[in-house]
């Protein structure tokens, strides 16, 4: 197992390198760069920006060099100094920007994720055990509805309903008076209140998927002879349910957990834009739009790394969870 893990990590290195090249290439793809973007914004605001100004700015930022040179400088700094570059937009080192949004991003993602798993797995089991019951139809219908509504629209509608019903659209993650306030009970409650819409919007769709998979897997497993065997042994239905079908049905769900690692950070971007959540997704989206290339690049690279890592975790989980694959390693 250890050897396998090590081998996989070694294999991942060229992948990450390759991805970093592609990432950098992609960022460069759209015409224009940060400077032209900056100039455009400035001129909208009524400032005057001349070609000379732009050239000077490019030279300062090193954007006048060939792309490959920019890439190598970037990579060199990452590898040797752990320096991921500088965000033009924030006037801060890239890492500082990422750090600024990390806390709330994790909060939002983990809460919605926990919501998804905690809600979806029991419901999936329930729907499979009580297949075609009213409950099955109800939950399936609800989860489908959540999945079928585009996030951005659902977010806007919920926001508007919240406004018409409660007079507060619950924008952002905190009410204005708590944004810069130190943590307190009231602030936490305020956060919880503001989490309702994101959790519903982001959580519901993910839940739908999970319920589907869980239900399908459970149905497969419930009909397997080992359930009958267990029953013949005198096990209680509850124990059978959790020990045999549930355990087996969780396999694909647990093993795909690694895949959702990146979606922790990017999955909710569109919703976050609509709901004005101060989390990573929108920041990165703007970095991409504004050609804040080191920020965008680092972010993408980070995501790529997470994907690779997630795949690795998934594979290890898969191997670890499935005795067949696990013993294959033991055997060789």
């Amino acid at each position: 197992m250890l050897q396998y893990t090590l081998k996989r990590i070694l294999l991942a290195i060229p992948v990450v390198f390759f991805i970093s090249v592609i990432v950098f290439y992609i960022i460069q793809l759209p015409p224009g760069d940060y400077v032209s973007n900056y100039a455009a914004e400035a001129s909208v605001a009524g400032e005057v920006f001349t070609q000379a100004d732009m050239d000077a700015m490019r030279a300062d930022l090193g954007l006048d060099r060939p792309v490959y040179e920019q890439y190598f400088i970037w990579i060199k700094d990452i590898v040797f100094y752990g320096d991921f570059g500088f965000s033009f937009n924030y006037n801060k080192p890239v890492l500082a920007v990422i750090e600024q949004y990390m806390g709330l991003t994790l909060t939002v993602s983990l809460v919605t994720m926990a919501f998804q798993y905690l809600v979806a797995i029991p419901i999936g089991i329930y729907c499979a055990v009580k297949q075609y019951s009213i409950g099955d139809y109800f939950f399936s219908g609800l989860s489908f509805l959540g999945m079928a509504t585009p996030h951005f629209l659902m977010a806007v509608i919920l926001m508007f309903l919240s406004y018409t019903w409660f007079g507060d659209p619950l924008l952002g993650l905190f009410s204005a008076e708590y944004v810069n306030a130190p943590w307190s009970m009231d602030k936490a409650i305020d956060l919880a209140k503001h989490m309702v819409i994101p959790v519903i919007v982001i959580g519901l769709s993910g839940t739908a998927d999970l319920i589907r998979v869980m239900r399908g897997q459970m149905l497969d497993e419930l009909n397997k002879p080992n359930v009958v065997t267990a029953r013949a042994k005198g096990l209680s239905e509850r124990k059978i349910l959790f020990k045999y079908p549930t355990r087996a049905a969780l396999n694909p769900i647990v093993s795909t957990f690694g895949w959702s690692l990146t979606s922790i950070f990017t999955g909710s971007t569109i919703t976050a834009i609509v709901l004005n959540l101060p989390i990573q997704g929108p920041v990165m989206f703007n970095a991409l739009l504004g050609q804040d290339m080191y920020l965008a690049g680092t972010w993408l690279l980070f995501m790529a790394l997470l994907t690779v890592l997630g795949t690795l975790i998934s594979d290890i989980l898969l191997a670890w969870l499935d005795p067949k694959i696990r013993t294959e390693f033991r055997g060789t």
Binding site: S140, M147, L219, N223, L289, L305
Partner: protein, 378 residues
Amino acid sequence: MRRFGKRQAAAAEPAMDKDANYSSQWRLIYVRFKKHKLARISLVVLALLYAGALFAQFLAPYGLENYDSKYVNAPPMKLRFVDAEGKFHIQPFVYGLKSGRDPETMRKVFTSDTEKKYSLQFFVKGEKYKFLGLVPSSTHLIGVKEPGRLFLLGTDALGRDLFSRILLGSQVSLSIPLVGVGISFVLGLIIGGASGYFGGWLDAVIQRVIEIIRSFPTLPLWMALSAAIPPRIPVVRMYFYIVIIFAFIEWTGLARVVRGKFISLKNEDYVVAAKIAGVSDTKIIVKHLLPGFISYLVVATTLAIPGMILAETAMSFLGLGIRSPATSWGVLLQEAQKIDNIALYPWKIIPLGTVILTVLTFNFLGDGLRDAADPYKR
């Protein structure tokens, strides 16, 4: 004399013993599927939706460029049978619209003009179009006589009939996800299968490729694409591009599942036996391995279709993809999501209903297929 017919018997057979009948798996699936009421209804709804898309130009009273500043943001009209004087009419009719503006808020206000009645008519001559893209025609299924207008679901900010736009938009929104899913299904099956079945270096390479593709950031790719695509590209082709890209990323998930299943199934005795018996690899895969997890694939692919419909709406939200006057449901939803539309002209959210309906029916269909394909179903 009443006899127990063989046809009925076929339906009941699997309920008895598992080893009963193996020869007609697909027939069994068909029979079981027929029993799934929701799936059957979904299939009918989907058939209607697709028929609607196919004949959209004929069914829609107006075209996509039927702007009218007089009827901007008009609410849905009521089809009436009883007029203002209480008289009943066999033929449904609509009243003419009088429009004005609220002097305070500048909001367009519409009132029914009970003086003017326009009966709903069938096979009305209207805007020219090409039936099924081939036959030029100007007949529309329903309509009212000029200068009357028929806005069953209201109008948008440019005074276009929303009902017509939904119908015409379905052509894009319904057709192309099929292509995307088809591509990803085939790719995922072939590549994932090969990876899992043959293993070794091929597996290693494919896994790496999948990893790279999965790590590929979609958002900037879309953005780069939209910047790189020339302006006068036919909208549908543009959408095709994006769907292909989408499928290109989507297949990897499927491939991984297929691979995993292959790995765990390929050492099953019956597979090994077949191998030793000299059965070709393709045949082993098709005959022995695929049936082992077909239900999962069916669920995954039917779930992927609505996923793509939704992806299209998300792209429209980000300002990528189809652009008005060409219309897709994504375009309509993107227009609807502006806060003033939700606050002032809520009927613009109606396309959401069709999106939900389609996604739901696809899901129910997939569900029915899954249950039908399940070899252990009692």
